[in-house]
């Protein structure tokens, strides 16, 4: 599903000097895979995830998503592709504080080609699937961290993406809430969704099928 060839990301430091965040990244992620990217702070994990999520466009190399050569696409075309195929879960949930749970779930749909009735049906379905119907009119500040992340995951998959990217999804949760989220990820993966997550936790990484270790921008090793 994902193929990266010699992908590099750098920032200019001065005249003809660059600081490399990612170097010669070669990575294949098959459809239905569950990959955990691990590594110390500053290893380039989140940068890699944002490149996969097409939030970052300043990289070099080749990136194929399915049959599409992302490296040949313009930013606007990448945004369209991202909207069609990718969902994103953030460590800090990033729910919009002044919107209810229902409205937060509706946001991604409002930026895609869904009719109002389709949007309502999808949100209702997602509330039901995640068993948060009773919380649909609550605001994020009225939810626990685990519940907020649950809404975050629901929001990421509501537009039915093929690929779910998660940047330390349990980083702000206590262990039981983290487990709940990881079990949810495993369930989604078992249903066929491809997942790439960044994590510091060995335990959380073990929920996936593969672990990719990053060090100073290089892929050091892969464990299956």
């Amino acid at each position: 599903m994902i193929k990266l060839k010699n992908l590099e990301r750098s920032y200019p430091l001065g005249k003809e000097k660059f600081f490399y965040v990612l170097r010669e990244i070669n990575l294949d992620v098959a459809e239905g895979d569950f990959v955990s990217i691990m590594g110390p702070s500053g290893a380039g994990k989140s940068t890699l995830l944002h490149i996969l999520g097409m939030h970052d466009h300043g990289w070099r190399g080749e990136y194929f998503l399915g049959e599409t050569a992302v490296h040949h696409l313009k930013p606007k075309e990448r945004a369209t592709l991202r909207n069609e195929q990718i969902g994103f879960v953030f460590q800090q949930y990033h729910l919009l504080d002044d919107l209810t749970v229902y409205e937060n779930l509706d946001i991604p749909l409002s930026y895609r080609r869904y009719s109002k009735s389709e949007r309502a049906a999808l949100v209702a379905d997602m509330l039901d699937r995640f068993q948060i119907v009773g919380k649909k009119d609550l605001y994020p500040c009225q939810l626990s961290g685990g519940q907020q992340q649950l809404v975050g995951v629901a929001r990421a998959i509501i537009a039915e993406p093929k690929l779910l990217l998660a940047d330390e999804p349990t980083g702000n949760l206590h262990s039981s809430q983290g487990e709940e989220i990881m079990e949810l990820f495993q369930k989604l993966n078992n249903e066929g969704m491809t997942i790439v997550q960044v994590t510091h936790s060995e335990k959380n990484a073990s929920y996936g099928k593969r672990i990719v270790q990053l060090r100073d921008g290089w892929i050091m090793k892969e464990n299956r």
């Binding site: 991202r82 909207n83 953030f90 919009l96 930026y111």
Partner: protein, 321 residues
């Protein structure tokens, strides 16, 4: 002998000079005629003394009766031509021709109305229906005369040519104060124009301040919402989605402000009534136009912050929290 280039000429007293403010004041003092009709209404009427050519020269058509003629000399009974407003004021259901009036002086002669002319804006550009009487200057005489000429003349040569002709009759007669009709009209509007320019200046300043205010508020709101915008972009919002979101917010504020402004304007606009000409204080087209202009300025003021919002980098915005 007619001056070269002159097609038509007439004579009147200073009160007959159209829209001439200073002379009109004099005319008001001299020409306050008080009429008592049915013992109940008292009304002031403007009076001028003119020759018969005056009406044709100023393009004021005769509606009924006749203008002055050669038989109206200083030995004949005095006659007058009145305008339609005068006729309607005093004889709304009757023919004014043949009716008589006189000044409220013991020895004043009776004056017979012989003609009715159309109303004209000779006293005020804003009002055509000021009741007006025209007497024959050959019957009444006048201490000061105004000479009206129409034709193709060199503007700068007029005073000298007229002075030369007048002084060929009597070299002691002073001739001064030549003005074209356009200059007279412009002079009569000068006070209104100044008021309008002042109001316009204040309005422009207010518009500028309103634009700056909206720009400031929307800039602040955009900076406050940078994180939210970053999330929205990360969740799929396009640049145009963000632009629309910010503009919609600014438009909401502008519409609210315009609505409040329109209500306030409705309340106070009658205070400006005396400065307006050809437009009502609550003219809907003007109100709608101004509201649209303000909304346009507001949208323009929102556009810069909106463009800034479009460029929000989701990665940076999400890291900032």
């Amino acid at each position: 002998m007619m001056m070269s280039g002159v097609e038509e000429a007439a004579i009147g007293d200073p009160g007959s000079i159209p829209l001439d403010q200073s002379e009109r004041d004099l005319n008001v003092l001299e020409g306050q005629f008080f009429f008592t009709i049915d013992d109940k209404s008292v009304q002031r009427v403007e009076r001028s003394r003119v020759t018969t050519n005056y009406f044709h020269l100023l393009g004021i058509p005769l509606l009924r009766g006749r203008l002055f003629n050669e038989s109206d000399n200083d030995t004949a009974p005095q006659v007058a031509v009145v305008n339609e407003a005068f006729a309607k004021s005093f004889w709304p259901n009757d023919d004014p021709l043949g009716k008589r009036f006189k000044a409220a002086k013991p020895d004043a002669p009776w004056i017979t109305i012989v003609g009715v002319i159309a109303n004209a804006r000779t006293q005020s550009l804003a009002q055509a229906d000021v009741p007006q009487i025209y007497l024959d200057i050959y019957q009444t005489g006048a201490k000061h005369l105004a000479i009206f000429i129409r034709g193709h003349l060199e503007r700068t040569a007029i005073p000298d040519q007229v002075r030369e002709h007048v002084q060929s009759v009597d070299p002691t007669l002073p001739v001064f104060g030549a003005q074209t009709l356009n200059e007279t009209v412009a002079a009569s509007l000068s006070q209104r124009r100044f008021s309008m320019e002042m109001v316009g200046l204040f309005a422009l300043t207010a518009l500028l301040l309103a634009g700056l205010g909206i720009y400031g508020v929307i800039s602040y709101l955009v900076s406050e919402r940078t994180h939210e915008i970053g999330i929205r972009v990360a969740l799929g919002a396009s640049r145009s989605n963000i632009l629309r979101m910010v503009l919609r917010q600014g438009l909401g504020l502008a519409i609210m402000g315009a609505a409040v402004g329109l209500v306030c304007a409705q309340i106070v606009s009658h205070l400006m009534a005396s400065l307006l000409y050809g437009v009502r204080p609550t003219d809907p087209l003007t109100f709608a136009g101004v509201a649209l202009l303000l909304i346009g300025v507001a949208l323009l003021a929102c556009y810069l912050p909106a463009r800034r919002a479009m460029k929000v980098d989701p990665i940076q915005a999400l890291r900032v929290e």
